[in-house]
């Protein structure tokens, strides 16, 4: 049985189901309780689970993440929320030096079942400190897993997997996805990490799209289909681990790859993926690997400037056509 739910509802259901199932799961963050989360994601959880397990915190990101780690080390399964990805910087020591390294430094003894939910992406005219997509910063930190779903169904299944796992997960939720509806299975299901989803099959080029921009990639594919260009759209769903086999299989079929994300282009997730494809799949490629990403400037406030900086469906179409026309 399938039904339609929004991305926000999917996350809400995942948290509620896991909290019902396991008393060691709890949620804390700024305004997650009475307010229901600034994006409404935790609405109703306080009423069902009470103040002990749905905790409004002071504005103290380092303490929120660090306390999540401490609780995890002694057997809880905390979910902590960072309201805007931009604010995770305030907790950077905890994420990078403490959370990520606890297991390894202890010779594999520590268990860190901690889920850090982070709202990323540009919601429109929010400017440089409320619009960032910092996924790639953390790809460079061994010890962290990174999920970045693009559909309600994936958000739910991946979040449940994150909560049940014994490794720390940064779970990125693009703000523009929260109100988008999509079909999701009824009842209990999990989605494993490290399994990409083929969103659309095609023959001529592969678009590897990450998080929020998956939708722009799909609409680009639609436009390209009208020009008789058949595009495959792949959504990795998790960046660490990464389903490289699925990406290589697609590129092997199409011979062309465009990587799309809202993180900045320089050293963004696309840089790593492009390097991996160059290392493992260069023989299949008929053209260079292109990236469509946010320009290397802070996100500006003015909406026209913002659109100019962020990746659009038109940019993706242009990149694919460049590869189609490419001659060695």
């Amino acid at each position: 049985m399938k039904r339609e739910i929004t991305f926000a509802q999917a996350i809400n259901e995942a948290m509620a189901e896991e909290m019902r199932r396991d008393p060691s799961v709890f949620l804390m963050g700024e305004d997650v309780g009475v307010f229901g989360g600034v994006f409404g994601v935790s609405e109703g959880l306080l009423a069902e689970f009470g103040e002990e397990r749905v905790r409004d915190t002071p504005i103290s990101e380092a303490a929120i993440v660090g306390a999540g780690l401490g609780a995890a080390l002694v057997g809880m399964r905390p979910i902590v929320e960072i309201m805007f990805a931009d604010f995770v910087t305030v907790a950077m020591d905890q994420v990078v030096n403490q959370v990520a390294k606890a297991r390894y430094m202890s010779g594999g003894k520590a268990r860190v079942p901690l889920t850090i939910r982070i709202a990323n992406g540009a919601p429109g005219a929010a400017a440089a400190q409320h619009s960032q997509s910092p996924e790639a910063w953390f790809m460079n930190v061994p010890g962290l897993k990174i999920a970045i779903p693009s559909t309600p169904a994936d958000a739910k299944g991946l979040l449940k997997t994150a909560i049940r796992g014994d490794d720390p997960v940064l779970f990125f939720e693009h703000k523009m996805l929260y109100s988008r509806a999509g079909s999701a299975p009824e009842g209990e299901y999990l989605i494993p990490f490290g399994r990409a989803a083929v969103r659309r099959e095609g023959e001529d080029a592969t678009i590897i799209a990450i998080g929020g921009p998956v939708n722009a990639a799909l609409s680009a594919a639609e436009q390209l289909a009208r020009q008789s260009v058949s595009v495959e759209v792949i959504d990795p769903r998790t960046l660490v681990p990464l389903d490289l086999d699925a990406l290589i299989a697609s590129v092997r079929k199409t011979g062309r790859a465009v990587i799309v994300h809202e993180a900045h282009r320089r050293a963004g997730p696309g840089a790593e993926i492009a390097a991996l494809l160059a290392e493992k799949a260069i023989d299949y490629l008929e053209a260079p690997i292109l990236r469509v990403a946010a320009a290397n400037v802070p996100i500006p406030y003015n909406p026209d400037l913002e659109r100019f900086v962020l990746p659009t469906a038109e940019d993706i179409v242009e990149a694919v056509m460049k590869l189609i026309r490419y001659e060695i």
Partner: protein, 331 residues
């Protein structure tokens, strides 16, 4: 309550005009956001005008401030031009930041406004650094950091306060305690009600003032400024006040009661001050009405200025990241 009689009437009228300007700016900005001229977040300081005006009146032009997400009042009180502010909110080239910053990042370095901030407590260490520079260069200047009751729970506040206390820097920690951080009441964010108590831990005085009494705020900030200029170090001022509008424009405000809001509206800093000007200083209501009308005209002009200013070219988005882009080698 402080007496108005100790202050020149001109100065009191200037306080009134500035507070009305801030109020009018906020209401017009909120209206223009609904009307579509202003695209981004707005955090109005309606109800808190006395803190901005009283505190900045105690500063000299060479003194600097750092501000917050709720910073329109701070900038106006430090001499900001509502035209350039409204144009920035509209994302225009004539705005304070050329349309790149918006409300959250308003700054005017000529006026000593080192910036509003999108990060809670983000501006506090900066004020300490400015104070350090003034101390190192033996300049008789002070830095004042505005921040909210929510900000004192960030590490940045603690580290900055400790440093300023340790080095006796000419810094004023000005906390606008409006009883809420977003939808969470102050009493659910800290185990103490008087945040000025925190100052003791950093070795400098913490004082409390009625944040809705502009003259009281002015007087207490003057004392702190004098202390800082003498080299005696920082002061933490806690101004008790209340935000009358939502945390942001559009906030459903499910977290507080109509009674509570009515209680604070009855203690409105502008209406209260106006009444005292009329009663204690015998200012004619017509004279104050005239100020109101002038301010309205000023804000009409600001809105028109914003509407008629040109929008930036989209390519402008790529400019201004670095002072030196190494001939295009930064890409």
């Amino acid at each position: 309550m402080t007496s108005l009689k100790h202050h020149p009437l001109d100065q009191l009228l200037a306080f009134y005009r500035l507070m009305v300007t801030i109020r009018e700016f906020e209401l017009r900005a909120a209206g223009e956001r609904k009307a579509g001229l202003v695209p981004g977040f707005l955090h109005a300081c309606v109800g808190q005008e006395a803190t901005a005006v009283g505190a900045c009146a105690a500063l000299n032009a060479e003194d600097v401030i750092t501000s917050t997400h709720r910073g329109h009042g701070h900038l106006i009180a430090k001499g900001g031009d509502p035209r350039f502010m409204m144009a920035e909110l509209a994302g225009k080239t004539s705005g304070y930041c050329g349309g790149k910053g918006g409300s959250l990042h308003l700054a005017d370095f000529d006026l000593g406004v080192l910036g509003a901030n999108g990060i809670v407590a983000g501006g506090i260490p900066m004020a300490v650094g400015a104070g350090l520079a003034f101390q190192m260069r033996r300049e008789p200047r002070v830095a004042l950091a505005f921040f909210g009751d929510g900000a004192v729970n960030e590490g940045a506040f603690h580290e900055a306060a400790n440093l300023a206390g340790l080095w006796k820097l000419p810094v004023i920690f000005f906390c606008e305690n409006n009883l809420y951080g977003e939808g969470t009441p102050q009493h659910k964010q800290a185990p103490i009600r008087d945040l000025s108590l925190r100052a003791a831990g950093y070795g400098f005085p913490g004082v409390i003032v009625d944040g809705n009494d502009v003259v009281a705020v002015y007087e207490i900030t003057l004392d702190a400024v004098e202390r800082a200029r003498k080299g005696d170090g920082p002061t933490f001022i806690e101004a008790k006040t209340y935000r009358q509008r939502g945390h942001y424009e559009g906030d459903p405000m499910i977290y507080r009661t109509e009674e509570e809001m009515a209680y604070w509206r009855a203690r409105d800093p502008i209406l209260g001050f106006r009444k005292r000007l009329e009663e204690e200083m015998e200012v004619e209501p017509a004279a104050l009405d005239a100020v109101d009308a002038e301010v309205k005209a000023l804000l009409d002009e600001a809105v028109q200025f914003a509407i008629h200013s040109p929008a930036p070219r989209p390519e402008a988005a790529l400019e201004g990241v670095y002072a030196d882009d190494h001939g295009g080698r930064v890409f």
